[in-house]
């Protein structure tokens, strides 16, 4: 696959911790899972890095025929005029399923098949990763169970239906706030019980090694294409790449092939929610900006930046976008921020909603609320053009939320909301 591998790819020597990105990463999982994590690392290296049994060729072919790759890079004429710089959109919203999630889900389900696993499990927050996994599992004929928080099930009903339509079982998780964090805990517990025949498809560049590296590898097709398309269409590299960051899979996917291009600025746009900081006494952060504002800790198998209390309890995060609503972030992204290679910025709920309407109206593209954060950052961006913004997904899944949240706010960008008040 991509030629630019990090130290984490090579470092798997027995007895020492593997998959470090500077101080981040590692394998903080219960002993019962360690043999599975070792087995997966071995399979990742053989099939994905060394193309054993033609895995990579098979994967690329399926991404094209089933997924619809490559996705276009298109100039956004009206936004370009508005900001006075060339703005290009990488259209992951046009990937099968409507989001970048399929790149990873298809890669992992296919890998599980090559490994001889018989069952797929996954966690999901907004339901996009769950849907992508259910699609890939149906396509590759694997039984699939998705863990999803009760709160998320209630606010993402169409995606629950999509998963069921593809034949996946959706297991509601009722503990805690019933969102992504709890769903991930529960998926890890399932895996600890069924690890011998089950592969756990983690949905982002998080978790124990090799997941952060492997998921980034599957997603880096985004930047591989974008870099090539930029050379063809722009005649060179962009000045900046902008992508939203929750766990960070579209971010790492959009950045990876540009990391070595030092003149290309990389902006990771986090959810600023309704305000920054952690409300200690409430165990709550009104945002999901772990990369820019969090502190170092260990969650879900990796050392990374987290939203937590001073004592180390993980807090409930917030974003109007369910897909960004997570208290952690990928360890490689945390490292690239420490190194000064990636700039973390944030955009609040209001600005993201405004950007949702702006892109819909001015470019005829309804973006996911996650991607709307990246679009919104153009308002604050002061650097040169051309810029590439990763439109990680389409916004059809968010329409109920957008109607409700736009009504509350009276946004200038929104259409007249009167018609929706029935």
């Amino acid at each position: 696959m991509s030629r630019r591998e990090t130290a984490a790819d090579a470092e798997t020597n027995a007895g020492a911790s593997a998959g470090k990105f500077g101080r981040y990463g590692g394998q903080y999982v219960p002993e019962v899972l360690m043999p599975a994590v070792e087995e997966l690392t071995d399979a990742y290296e053989r099939y994905v890095l060394e193309n054993e049994d033609g895995f990579v060729d098979d994967f690329r072919e399926r991404l094209r025929d089933f997924g619809g790759r490559p996705t276009p890079l298109g100039r956004a004429d009206n936004l370009s005029e508005r900001y006075g710089i060339d703005v290009y959109l990488k259209r992951e919203d046009l990937l099968h399923g409507g989001a970048h999630k399929l790149n990873n889900a298809l890669g992992q389900v296919l890998l599980a098949k090559y490994m001889g696993k018989e069952r797929i499990i996954a966690e999901t927050g907004a339901g996009q990763h769950g849907t992508a996994t259910a699609m890939a599992a149906a396509y590759l004929d694997m039984p699939c169970e998705i863990y999803m928080g009760r709160t998320d099930i209630n606010r993402q009903r169409p995606n629950v239906f999509r998963m069921r339509t593809h034949g996946a079982e959706v297991n509601p998780v009722t503990v805690g706030s019933g969102t992504l964090k709890e769903a991930t805990n529960e998926a890890m517990r399932d895996w600890a019980t069924t690890v011998e025949n089950t592969h756990y498809v983690i949905g982002s560049v998080v978790g124990p090694h090799p997941f952060p590296t492997m998921v980034r590898e599957f997603q880096s097709v985004i930047s591989e294409e974008a870099r090539e398309q930029a050379r063809e269409q722009l005649g060179g590299l962009p000045a900046a790449v902008i992508a939203c960051a929750g766990g960070g899979s579209n971010t790492m996917g959009a950045f990876h092939e540009f990391v070595g291009d030092e003149d290309v600025d990389l902006y990771a746009v986090e959810a600023g929610g309704s305000g920054l900081g952690v409300e200690e006494s409430e165990n709550y952060a009104p945002n999901s900006a772990s990369l820019g504002t969090g502190s170092v800790g260990v969650l879900h198998g990796a050392k990374t930046k987290l939203l937590q209390t001073v004592e180390g309890q993980i807090v409930e995060s917030h974003s109007v976008s369910a897909g960004l609503d997570y208290a952690g972030v990928g360890p490689e992204l945390a490292h690239l921020v420490d190194e000064g290679r990636v700039t973390p910025v944030n955009v609040g709920d209001d600005a993201a909603l405004a950007a949702f309407h702006r892109l819909s109206r001015e470019e005829g593209i309804i973006p996911a609320l996650e991607s709307s954060h990246a679009i919104a950052y153009l308002e604050a961006y002061e650097g040169d053009g051309p810029v590439i913004v990763n439109v990680s997904g389409r916004g059809d899944k968010d329409l109920d939320t957008v109607i409700e949240e736009s009504e509350k706010r009276d946004l200038d960008e929104a259409p007249d909301m009167e018609v929706f008040r029935a």
Binding site: A14, G15, A16, S17, A18, R23, G26, Q27, Y28, V29, P30, E31, V32, L33, M34, P35, A36, V175, G176, K181, N185, M188, R189, A192, T193, T194, V195, E196, N283, S295, V296, G297, V298, L299, H300, G301, L306, Q308, V310, E311, G312, Q313, I314
Partner: protein
């Protein structure tokens, strides 16, 4: 108490290691519960320091942790509680790695280990810390004479067992079955297989995950274990009791039942399959 005291607690025959969550439902209650468990025959107390994301624990202990956090348990209060305990058995702290990292200033674990040793904690069990990530914690435990107890799972390979034994102290926690913690109604065949493939060594082997009845304790000891760990059965008692008094009495009774199960085991009399010990 020191790391050696943890090992020594297994010297006079197979030991009972009960677990409760500190602060479930209050620090004062936990003090009473620990005393009751020791009255019932506990040789080591495993005291949970609650973390918000307990990925190695099943529903029963998750709920106990939730109750303790809601009631305001913190690492600082936990250490105060251990300091106030008036029992003559070693106390082992079970918690998750992030709480160790966050204690004190900066991204290191020694501050916690030092404070824990000072409060009277004799050992640590950190279920989300595999041996590969444990070098820093091992050094801190060594420096402050605290036992570092590792879990061996049914999936653990022979190579990994060796690696784990090379770094473990106190005792070795043998996970009897796949999955997470939680009371069960039988003893898993995995238990016997796990015990069979463990080499003779200096450290005692204590078996946990799913132990809830006298018969389990007997079967585990007959299978060759040096100790029995039981958690969810005690956390269940705490959850269901109508008062602290009632809970303490029931905890004492359950601990005594498991102690009797351990005594029932005929030394050397192995159930099938045959064991090596």
């Amino acid at each position: 108490m020191s790391a050696d005291d943890v090992t020594a607690a297994f010297a006079d025959g197979p030991a009972l290691v009960p677990y409760v969550v500190a602060g479930d439902p209050s620090a004062d209650a936990t003090e009473r519960y620990v005393e009751a468990l020791v009255d019932g025959g506990a040789d080591v107390i495993e005291l949970g320091l609650p973390f918000s994301e307990p990925i190695a624990d099943g529903p029963t202990i998750q709920e106990g942790i939730r109750r303790a956090l809601d009631a305001g348990m913190t690492p600082e209060r936990y250490l105060d509680l251990v300091r106030d305990l008036d029992v003559d058995v070693p106390v082992v702290c079970m918690t998750y790695y992030n709480l160790l990292l966050q204690y004190g200033e900066g991204d290191e674990v020694e501050t916690f280990v030092e404070a824990a040793a000072d409060a009277g904690v004799s050992g640590l069990i950190v279920p989300d810390l595999p041996v590969e990530e444990s070098a820093e914690l091992e050094a801190a435990c060594e420096a402050h004479d605290v036992a570092l107890i590792f879990i061996v799972a049914p999936t653990t390979t022979a190579e990994r067992v060796e690696r784990i034994l090379g770094r473990a102290s106190g005792f070795v926690y043998v996970q009897a079955r796949m999955g997470t913690t939680g009371a069960r109604t039988d003893v898993s065949e995995d238990t016997y297989e796990s015990l069979e493939r463990l080499p003779e060594g200096d450290l005692p082997y204590a078996v946990g995950f799913g132990v809830s009845e006298r018969e389990h304790a007997r079967a585990i000891v007959e299978g060759g274990a040096d100790g029995v760990v039981a958690g969810s059965v005690f956390v269940d008692i705490v959850a269901e009791a109508e008062s602290v008094e009632a809970a303490a009495a029931a905890l004492r009774e359950k601990a005594a039942e498991l102690t009797a199960g351990i005594a029932d085991a005929t030394p050397g009399g192995a159930p099938e399959p045959e064991t090596t010990k």
